[in-house]
């Protein structure tokens, strides 16, 4: 009896992973289930059971947070993100390719090929997960989307002065979150109207222009950042006007950190060679790191449900 009590005490301690409300409603029955499935003479929770309890508790907390605090608009906003952002990315990359081709035609510089080389793998990184998710292969889509996310995040940590890498990293990590924690791009396509598509495509193309203009030396960083801010604000207004407002508001909130870092990258693009500025480092610490942590937490906890890996043995 004492042995069972020790086990029960330890199980009760593990229930701290669950929200108080869930513990209050289901704590006693869970203890009953845990003790009934324990082996004779068992004194401590087994590690897989302890991990399973912790993960189950975190999932329930995350679901409560997502459904209660933010409302179902969050999952729809993520669904729109999973559909719209890869398309926007591809447009930006194609515009980049076109700009380079045009620059090459004008200057005849063969070195520009090196600038165009990453376009193809980056296009694939955007298109492949989207195509997999569209066909309902969610796990595969998430796995493939992890590749660019990991790559950009490594670059962002390696060179925190590059706001662009930090922005790319957040965009890519959010795409993983969007694929993992939302009903997916098909749902996103249903939420988006034709006008939303117009806003997304126009914002992608217009937002990329200042960056290219600075790189090609046609614009100063300050002017580019102002132009980018104007595009971002217009796009935000466009999203609010063309989609259900709760979804648009949440999508805008998700995009704030990566868009801010993109703007910062544009602002400092012409001094990029000179090395990191105080502003870059501060933004990395204040904007990038918390945004990344939040995104990863939502990714890990957002989509709750039984997982074979955790839910079964043997």
């Amino acid at each position: 009896m004492t042995k069972m009590s020790a086990l029960e005490r330890r199980y009760r301690r593990l229930l701290a992973w669950y929200p108080a409300q869930h513990r209050h409603a289901h704590g006693e029955e869970m203890i009953g289930v845990l003790l009934a499935s324990a082996q004779d003479g068992q004194r401590r929770p087994r590690l897989p059971d302890a991990l399973d309890l912790a993960l189950g508790g975190l999932r329930i907390r995350a679901r409560a947070a997502l459904a209660g605090r933010f409302g179902p608009g969050v999952t729809d906003a993520l669904a729109v993100y999973s559909r719209a952002i890869p398309v926007m990315w591809m447009l930006i990359l194609l515009a980049w390719g076109a700009a380079i081709a045009w620059g090459m035609l004008r200057s005849g510089a063969p070195g520009a090929f090196a600038l165009a080389a990453p376009i193809v793998p980056l296009l694939l990184c955007a298109a492949f997960p989207l195509a997999l998710a569209w066909r309902g292969r969610r796990a595969a889509a998430v796995a493939v989307a992890l590749l660019p996310a990991a790559l950009f995040t490594c670059v962002a940590f390696w060179a925190p002065s590059s706001g662009l890498a930090s922005a790319d990293s957040l965009f890519a990590v959010l795409q993983v979150v969007a694929l993992a924690a939302s009903p997916g791009p098909r749902r996103g396509a249903r939420v988006m109207t034709r006008w939303t598509w117009g806003v997304v495509c126009a914002a992608g193309l217009a937002g990329a222009i200042p960056l290219y203009a600075i790189i090609f030396g046609w614009m100063s960083g300050g002017a580019g950042a102002l132009a980018f801010a104007a595009v971002a604000l217009t796009a935000a207004a466009g999203l609010l006007l063309t989609m259900p407002k709760p979804v648009a508001a949440r999508l805008i909130a998700m995009l704030t950190a990566p868009v801010y870092l993109s703007g910062l990258a544009i602002l400092t693009a012409d001094q990029f060679i000179a090395g990191p500025s105080g502003l870059d480092i501060a933004s990395f610490a204040i904007v990038y790191v918390p945004a990344l942590v939040l995104a990863v937490l939502i990714a890990v906890l957002g989509r709750a449900g039984p997982r074979r890996r955790l839910g079964q043995t043997g």
Binding site: E28, G56, G305, P306, R308
Partner: protein
């Protein structure tokens, strides 16, 4: 309700994960308590799927949120609370759809395998 309308069209097209399918199947026999569901799921799956308590309660929380499962009644056994869960009409409809989908797939596979076997038999004769 908004949550349901959000998810219904997408979730109903998605295939149920096996543990979810098995939990709903366990409850199709009638209301069961948590430990009963765990035992039943192991039995139905020939001991292949063994749910742990954390996974089971996270799944029940989600299934209740989606309106597929609901609490039925409570009883005290040996001083411990047991809560029984039951399928809702939405839950039985969802399970029926999934069972039909699996049955259709299985019947195509079986009929093709039969033809294949007949082909082999014809080839060797």
């Amino acid at each position: 309700m908004y949550r349901l309308t959000v998810y219904n069209d997408d979730v109903s097209k998605q295939t149920l994960q096996e543990p979810t399918f098995l939990i709903l199947t366990a409850l199709a026999a009638g209301p069961q308590h948590g430990y009963g569901i765990m035992i039943d799921v192991a039995q139905i799956s020939g001991d292949r799927v063994r749910l742990r308590a954390g996974t089971l309660y996270a799944a029940l929380d989600r299934l209740r949120g989606d309106g597929l499962v609901d609490a039925d009644r409570e009883e005290i056994v040996d001083g411990r609370l047991r809560r029984y869960y039951r399928l809702t009409p939405t839950g039985s409809r969802r399970l029926a759809e999934e069972a039909e989908r699996l049955r259709a797939n299985a019947s195509v596979a079986t009929s093709r395998l039969r033809k294949l076997a007949a082909g082999f038999a014809g080839g060797t004769a």
